[in-house]
Amino acid sequence: MQITVTQAVLISLAAYLGSSTWFLGVGYFTVYRPLIAGTIVGAILGDPAAGMKLGAAINAIYLGFISTGGSLPGDLIFAGYIGTALGLAARLDAAAALSLVVPLGLLGSAIWFFRMAVDSLFVHWADAFARRGSTRGVAAMNVWPGQMVLLVAYGVPTFIIVYFGSGAVQSLMALVPPKVVEALAMVGGMLPAVGIGMLLSYMGKWRLMPFFLVGFLLSIYLNLPVVVVALFGLIAAALHVQYSQMLPSAGGTAPSPQAARVAEDRPKRVTRGDMFGAWWRWLVFSHSCYNYERLQGLGFAHSMTPIIKRLYHTQDEISAALQRHLVFFNTEPNVGAVVHGVTVAMEEQRASGADQISAETINSIKSGLMGPLAGIGDSLTQGLITPVLLSLGIALALEGNLAGPLLYVMLESAAIIGVSYITWMQGYRWGKVAVERILGAGLVHALMEGASVLGLTTVGALTATLVSLSTKVKVTVGQKVVTLQTDVLDKILKGLLPLALTLLVWRLLGRKRSPLFIIILVFVVGLVGTWLGWLGWG
């Protein structure tokens, strides 16, 4: 299939949008992921279902993908958008396409580092606007230059590779001997074990691994759909959390009467509209100009502009407030939004003349809280909510069900936006006591434990459906030919090899082997094993 100029332009625009800021703060959780990218590229190329399936297969390798503090292992934009475009154009099956995707992901991270470096320049432009007290200037610096850079940095290479590369991939594939195609397919079947292994190295504690095995067995012997296994996982999670008595006692979250009085007696000058506007700006633009020098610093200052305009009126005051919030800041943007709420409350007190709230107090509370909340936030949003919901989306998508990506986007967005709104408003309402209210009740730990149980059960089922590995070895015992796979292994445990491979990857990661090393190992074992006739089907 030839990709037209229009299609290539649309795909490169989609690749930019996938990395952009325009999706209500959930872009990183939705359109950035290959499952969604594949569906979009498929729609552009006229076959959304095929694109979705390819995207789901690619996403499986990146199931354990967690980016923290501006550092990320590989980049999903190239893997998702270019990977599916080339795969669909060259009519590659998922397995062969996967071998293209790994180098694309690594190439993509170069773009990410470039963007993080270049965006550092724009915060200095924002500094200049802040000195003049221009809230509009600061906002514009957060929104526009960084997005222009992203458009060029992702759009142009995507166009070039998709438009000129699809023909090259097709002719390359025509040259590859069938034996190698078979071997690549074997590698493609093994690669999801890397994504699942990475996720296990994050979620998998020994004491919870029985849930993983239950999920695996339910899927491989009863052929239950992953969604149904996930429902069993949900039940298991509810029971596990209850029986291990992790649930916080009722009333544990109530603030002390004193804290409640302080919160209620506080003079309120910020309106509901200001709060909503500030939260909205943070939700949409927190990473718009993400950069190494101050990470989300400019995003923070931008989000505070409605508050600053309400509280301060002279140019000196506005300028000082803008500069105060243009410093280095980084947290997990959703759970961490409590910091913003707390900051608004402190700014309000400061503007009302409370002497004890100095600029230093505000800064030290902000910088003290941002780290710990990122720790909780990354564990919760990137480590649990996202992979659990993605597992479901991927499983549905692989069955050809468009509900996979749709359901994923809806549930994920509701969860992320909900967390962000609640933490932000709680932070404002209670001040810094909110942090203890949210974290101290034990609710978060119970939630994480439950999500781990649900996640492990689901991922167990996903291992059974996604990872494939089988041997062709035959042993002659006297007169009888024994086929290792069907006569021996399958009679012990169906799916023994995929399960063993997945657990092996998990242990290797635990022994400090890097994911890239393991991916290379999988390629070598898969290619050499197939070449020697040890690995293969039937």
Partner: protein, 183 residues
């Protein structure tokens, strides 16, 4: 000092990179935050404790307390992660007789007058002096945000004129040492 202690300088202390990546990579069940200022801040100590996973024990100690804690041979069966907000604090630990071979420089915020070393690692003048002092006292300092990345030696990230010189006991360094001891 216990052989399994990992020293990390990171002004955000316990955050995503630490919780999601390093604790699992290093297989640590203990975090020791050494910080004289936070030692007196009950609220922040509570927050730090709540931020770590349930199975991880978090302690906040002053420099003086940390010396005693780190000398106990059986402090932890597994590794212990020592978190410091500034390189000056690492120098203070050395001065108090805590021995360590390596310091992982994980994150230092940029600001006015700070020199950018690598990505999100910057250092102010006193921080630079402390880093150089650590190096001249035989401590390997390397920049690495997360385990998946390659470690970058401090020498390769320092501005050229600082990377070559190896000050042993310049007045600047002594000044840093005294300040770190004091606060």
């Amino acid at each position: 000092m216990a052989a399994t202690a990992h020293v990390r300088v990171d002004d955000r202390l316990i955050h995503g990179q630490v919780v999601v990546k390093w604790l699992r990579y290093l297989d640590c069940q203990d975090i020791l935050v050494v910080d004289d200022e936070l030692r007196g801040d009950d609220f922040m100590q509570t927050v730090l404790r709540m931020a770590a996973p349930a199975a991880v024990r978090v302690r906040v100690a002053s420099v003086a307390e940390a010396v005693g804690l780190l000398e106990q041979p059986a402090l932890s069966e597994r590794g212990i992660l020592v978190l410091l907000r500034t390189p000056q604090m690492a120098l203070a630990l050395l001065d108090h007789g805590v021995a360590f071979d390596e310091v992982n420089l994980g994150g230092l915020a940029g600001g006015p007058g700070a020199t950018r070393l690598f990505r999100s690692v910057s250092a102010s003048e006193p921080q630079l002096a402390a880093l150089i002092a650590l190096r001249s006292r035989g401590v390997r300092v390397y920049i690495q945000m997360v385990p998946e990345e390659h470690a970058l030696e401090l020498a390769d990230a320092l501005p050229a004129h600082l990377a070559k010189s190896r000050p042993t006991a310049s007045p600047d360094v002594d000044l840093v040492r005294t300040q770190a001891n004091g606060g």
